[in-house]
Symmetry: C2
Subunit: 458 residues, 2 copies
């Protein structure tokens, strides 16, 4: 049973990317600019400075620089847990009886348990470089909060994390990990901010949402001297940092003389998806190749498949700049879906534009089917996936089963963003049959659409 293609391929340190790739530089049409929420005019760079670290704001606005050097200090940090392996899912293929070749890029081999650390360390680095005295952020599933806690501890930067209440309650140990890295954790909505107080006064029992935690984190950042706000998804800068996932994947596949027919990623705000697909999308945009690119989102929070492509706020409190994106409306309050990291009303503006222009597809999947795939995968591949990641697994399995029907030996690449060690409450619910699927009605969604901000000439 000798195999030419190894189970796990790691690049060497020398082969690791030294630059991030900025997808915007190759887009035929750029994503619509952020708008100043006061004037509804395109936001100027300086207008972002009160909220964002300056260097990160520059990256946010940079639509032209194709490759951006990764500072050496960040490269060195990356080397502590990267390169991540590209894994050939031999056992999964065998168990499915599919002729498809399934590869996955596994990002869970670090304490944060996910790909989030790739952007967290970059953002902490730039914050330290600017001499900031602290950061605020929000976290849904807890992966981003953990990653940023880790990065901030490394740079001795104080950090306050607003954690979506439903996750705070479902994942007590997530909180403990962040506290191990010295972060202050506040369940959101909270009484520590004006916006939190307002949301609680409307609905004292709300489980919270990412949109509402973002509002609180921004309020705290702008009201604390020397502090700025950072975000783990949605933003262009985050997709830039996460491009390392795709760049490593592509380099590893090239070493194996492989190229994916389909690239699959789970989609919440788009950080993993945007990073994984970046260099493959580049090939598509420049006519070098034409892989299918598939976003997988939860049926409970279906921004791509049932949202509107419109200008919207990134937060519930309506304090952020407006972004043009697929959105369910910033007032949309998702059900207590266990895949907390995918519970966001909007979607990366870059990915939204590419989806709108037909460069990628999207599919929404139900939670119980996602966990079914997660458990099946865990038994074959010895990795317990995070529920978020399992959305991509579900779609990869479905595509592999289609290949079984047609007899096609397609090459599938998906992103396994992280591990599910802190998601055992959800696994329990699935295993004991108490997990249900929630799909919002058209009426539910209409409420969110009705409150979309009015923006002229969009």
């Amino acid at each position: 049973m000798s195999k030419k293609i190894p189970h796990r391929l790691y690049l060497t340190e020398e082969q690791m990317p030294k630059q991030w790739y900025n997808l915007r530089a190759d887009m035929k049409e750029l994503p619509a600019p952020l708008l100043n929420p006061g004037t509804l005019q395109p936001a100027k760079l300086e207008e972002l400075y009160p909220v964002f670290c300056e260097k990160l704001a520059e990256q946010e606005m940079d639509n032209t620089t194709r490759y951006i050097d990764i500072p050496e200090e960040i490269q060195d940090f990356y080397k502590m847990y990267r390169p991540s392996p590209l894994i050939r899912a031999y056992n999964l293929e065998k168990a499915l009886g599919t002729p498809a070749k399934i590869y996955y890029k596994f990002e869970g081999n670090n304490t944060s348990g996910s790909h989030k650390l790739n952007s967290a360390i970059a953002q902490a680095y730039y914050a330290k470089e600017q001499g900031l005295t602290g950061l605020t952020t929000e976290t849904g599933a807890g992966q981003w909060g953990t990653a940023l806690s880790e990065a901030c501890a490394y740079y001795n930067l104080p950090l306050t994390v607003f954690m979506v209440k439903v996750s705070y309650e479902q994942k007590p140990f997530r909180k403990s990990v962040m506290q191990t890295f010295d972060a202050e954790i506040i369940a959101s909505p909270s009484n520590t901010t004006k916006i939190g107080q307002m949301i609680l006064s409307k609905d004292p029992n709300t489980g919270g949402s990412l949109g509402c935690a973002i509002s609180e984190a921004i309020e705290k950042a702008v009201s604390t001297p020397g502090y700025r706000y950072v975000l783990g998804s949605v933003l262009n800068q985050v997709l830039l940092h996460q491009s390392i996932i795709g760049l490593e994947s592509k380099a590893a596949m090239e070493m194996l003389d492989e190229y994916p027919d389909i690239v699959i990623g789970c989609a919440g705000g788009g950080s993993n998806l945007g990073g994984l697909i970046a260099p493959f999308m580049q090939d598509k945009l420049t006519g070098k190749a034409s892989p299918r690119i598939l976003a997988v989102e939860p049926a409970s929070c279906p921004s791509f498949t049932r949202g509107k492509y419109a200008y919207d706020f990134c937060d519930t409190g309506r304090v952020t700049p407006l972004a043009k994106m697929y959105t369910l409306g910033s007032s949309f309050m998702p059900s207590a879906n266990h895949a907390g990291g995918l519970r966001y009303h909007g979607m990366s503006p870059i990915l939204s534009k590419l989806y709108h222009d037909g460069y990628m597809e999207a599919v929404a999947v139900e939670q119980t089917k996602v966990f079914e795939a997660a458990v099946f995968f865990a038994k074959q591949e010895t990795i317990l996936p995070a529920p978020e990641s399992a959305h991509a697994i579900r779609a990869a399995i479905d595509e592999a089963l289609k290949c079984k029907e047609t007899g096609e030996a397609k090459t599938i690449l998906f992103g396994l963003t992280g591990t599910g060690y802190f998601d055992m409450t959800a696994y329990n619910a699935f295993l004991n049959g108490s997990m249900s699927d929630y799909i919002p009605t058209d009426e539910d969604l209409q409420k969110g659409f009705d409150e979309l901000p009015e923006v002229p000439n969009q």
Copy 2:
């Protein structure tokens, strides 16, 4: 900041060991044989068959075969999560300001979260090969139980795990992971076995111990047709399988032109320690090199440093063969120490013999000092260590600090056996200051010694 030695070194699949190394073949004097508990005479191979899988019993008794082929199917499974990385702890060194070079072998990159999978998959494979219909085992911290659940799910082998009650209660999510892999989990002592009933009748509030869970697992195995019992530590066969840790470590260090001055491992039953040190101990036994070899155990359960070298039962119920080992007495009931995996009264007979003959050293460390090291390490190296593993970290840091004083640039290698994702209750206790150190008094220990079995001429 270019470095010749990478942060992480992975062997290629071709470089992975294809044979396990049997340390006994190079020992000047062999460990004393197991004794039949009825006759107190050396146990014959066939006498082990009712309890153990035949092939594993053979490995248990094989004192002469130096290298044993790893079946191809096991090699293929290993490739799903191995080789594990040898990591140069650049950041830890920097934070300590030590001239020492610190390396660690990280075994946590699989769902079981620890090195235990190395032996679990081997034991499940041989059980399947023999046509067994099920297995029983015990688990302390839950790492072994998780690993074996994973291995048994892979081979569709039913598994019952007796989980030490204190861990069962402290680590509810460990249980969930095992259940995800279809294992049946029973808190030990339980009412499902006679021995469990007896132990409970004496002390209904006991937190249990590994020794007592072993008794229950054996009772269930011998009373269920087609079942056998398997164990994740202590036994010779387990150290054999775990030799892959040391073999990979040594191969990786050779590629870097490095050789350790000190090899450090945490010691509960000895599975990790025995595996990690195997090829370095070989060098020592054969006069090729003379590295210091250091076992680190909890001060709350100090088998090496305060135990007796004597024949004892491996379990509380006194149904196992007797092994000559460093022991606190099979009736010793350790305190609710959080490092559950190290709460065992005895120690591998192989390691006991080597320690007795002066080939290795041992040190006992207090729990709060262990967690202090764990948190410090996590902040520098982006890995959240299991409490068990953190015992080795504590000692490695202490050795590195000694180097700082003396100015010596020693090369330190330690085993990082696993991750602490399921140990957040313990981390919490440390962080909020409620963790205490328990050190048994001489009187406490004497009670265990008083009940050691009487074995003539030992």
